[in-house]
Symmetry: C2
Subunit: 329 residues, 2 copies
């Protein structure tokens, strides 16, 4: 920076102003500085800048699982909103585990990103509240009634109810649910499933098996379900990834979908839309969620709000070809 200042014949402070696009710099000097910077191949050191200004203009995004296309969709929404507000995004890999998530969060905190978006968090509210003492955070895809941090998610209970209603309307009674283990949104989806089943007088048919929001998990759970003595006529998988896993094993066991079994997913990812898969699923408005998350963060960063806000979006059923009437008895 000093070299640039010397070459341009100005002070380092002026170079700083030019590099930051500050107002009140004469055009003449600005050109001088830019020319000098170009000649020397000078690039501002963000570390130093951030250290001095105590801001990074960067938002850290922790993704639970890079293999789940749902999170790629979320990033699209976040990226658009961040671009529009002149923030940059850095992504951390949660590695589908709590430890991986913690490590990513810690990295971002140490790098002093201005805020944090955690998509599909597996942490407890308590831990997240602790984190939010260090930097504003927004949790995406997971409900919370925390009065400390913000959230942006769809109403998963409603989403689960939509699935059950749809299957019941088709005539199903034995509807099983593969949950997402310790994943985000699991509790609400499961609760929604249970409530809806009871509301339809199907309490005795409630059947939940454990999954983990992965394809392998869905495969394993569906395998168990299909070998069960009272095999279900419909399976509601906790997300598309596990639904696809379930779909695979169910068909290779010789069953027809939806002839013998209907399968419904959740998230409406590209996976579900694939011609070969054509999965009935629940749509989450990922772009809205991404935009909401960034907005919530910016409100905090601009000091416009301190009370926790919970943005809740509406889920919607997307009917494709993996659901149909149950087989005749």
């Amino acid at each position: 920076m000093q070299q640039v200042a010397e070459l341009a014949g100005v002070s380092t402070a002026l170079v700083s102003l030019v590099m930051r696009d500050a107002p009140n710099v004469s055009d003449y000097r600005r050109q001088l500085v830019l020319a000098a910077a170009d000649e020397l191949g000078y690039r501002p050191n963000v570390l130093a800048r951030n250290l001095a200004s105590r801001r990074t203009q960067t938002i850290g995004v922790v993704l639970n699982d890079l293999h789940n296309p749902f999170f790629a969709d979320i990033v699209d929404g976040l990226q658009a909103a961040a671009d529009a507000n002149d923030y940059r995004l850095l992504i951390g890999n949660g590695s589908h585990s709590q430890l991986g998530e913690e490590r990513s969060v810690e990295t971002f905190l140490q790098f002093r990103t201005d805020g944090l978006v955690i998509a599909g968090s597996m942490q407890t509210d308590e831990l997240l509240e602790r984190t939010s003492r260090s930097a504003p955070i927004v949790i995406v895809g997971r409900t919370s009634s925390s009065e400390v941090f913000d959230t942006a998610n769809t109403d998963d209970e409603v989403g689960a109810r939509l699935v059950v209603d749809h299957l019941v309307a088709l005539g199903h009674q034995r509807i099983a649910h593969i949950d997402g283990g310790r994943g985000a949104g699991v509790i609400e989806r499961r609760a929604g499933y249970r409530t809806a089943m009871r509301a339809h007088g199907l309490g005795e048919h409630i059947h939940v098996v454990r999954g983990d929001f992965s394809e392998a998990g869905g495969r394993k759970a569906a395998h168990a379900l299909m070998l069960h003595d009272r095999r279900p006529t419909a399976i509601f998988a906790g997300n598309d990834l596990s639904a696809v896993g379930a779909l695979g094993i169910v068909e290779s066991l010789g069953f027809d979908v939806p002839g013998d079994v209907s399968i419904v997913g959740y998230d409406n990812t590209a996976l579900a839309a694939m011609h070969h898969v054509s999965l009935t699923t629940i749509n989450q408005p990922t772009e809205e969620l991404g935009r909401a998350a960034i907005d919530l963060l910016l409100e905090r960063l601009d000091g416009n709000r301190t009370a926790a806000t919970h943005h809740v979006a509406e889920p919607a059923l997307v009917c494709r070809s993996t659901s149909g009437p149950p087989p005749a008895p």
Copy 2:
């Protein structure tokens, strides 16, 4: 840091040593410092640390397309190798575009990550060589004969040849290729396809249509191919994503796969392995590539090497159910 030093009754330098796990610190003082740090909730500021030490212990990873599961696989390999060497990973989103990639790279350079891994780069060698003047970079999934930066990739020409050999062995002659536009590895795969076609005396049947390594691109290209007057009996898509897109449109046009048309992809992602898809494809050893990329970077960082090295892995055919003999004439 000063507060911690005061509370522990030592100098800030000692606090620094403890926080870095430096040797030659007495156990007694170490405990004092750690206790004080804990009590004050002190967390070292990585920005300041990096500014002072001129190292970040962080590697930036730029991914061409978060929606392509191939890159999630690559990250798995990178993450494992980084963990093993006490480096952390930060991911940038290339947004499937050259501009997005450039922006991500710029962010990492400004953050002064120790090195950069660019997976699926869309830049020219010249630009990359320029980048590598600022920090060591490794390009994954794209060949280069650059004498400046390192690469880790599979031999795509061989991979493409494996595909053509396989299809020819099944009896196909009219084998078309959907390429990846400006994506990584496109040139080699296309060249491999051409060379292999000619080697089998099928030069007149060479037919390349443009894709972009996306599902939508594959769909569009395959649609054009199937409406062509001399419709191919086999399609070699540049990657799994476009193969899946091709698969979808081909079947919805009423053709049977592989009865009427065989389709082969590239990358052997989870997508291809899905029961419903069961795509014949070429495997890339992603874990090997990730590990190689990190190793190459570390050699540079440790100053053990300055000459460019190109790690080339072997591709392998994975035969599934989308390829079979051509229809009888």
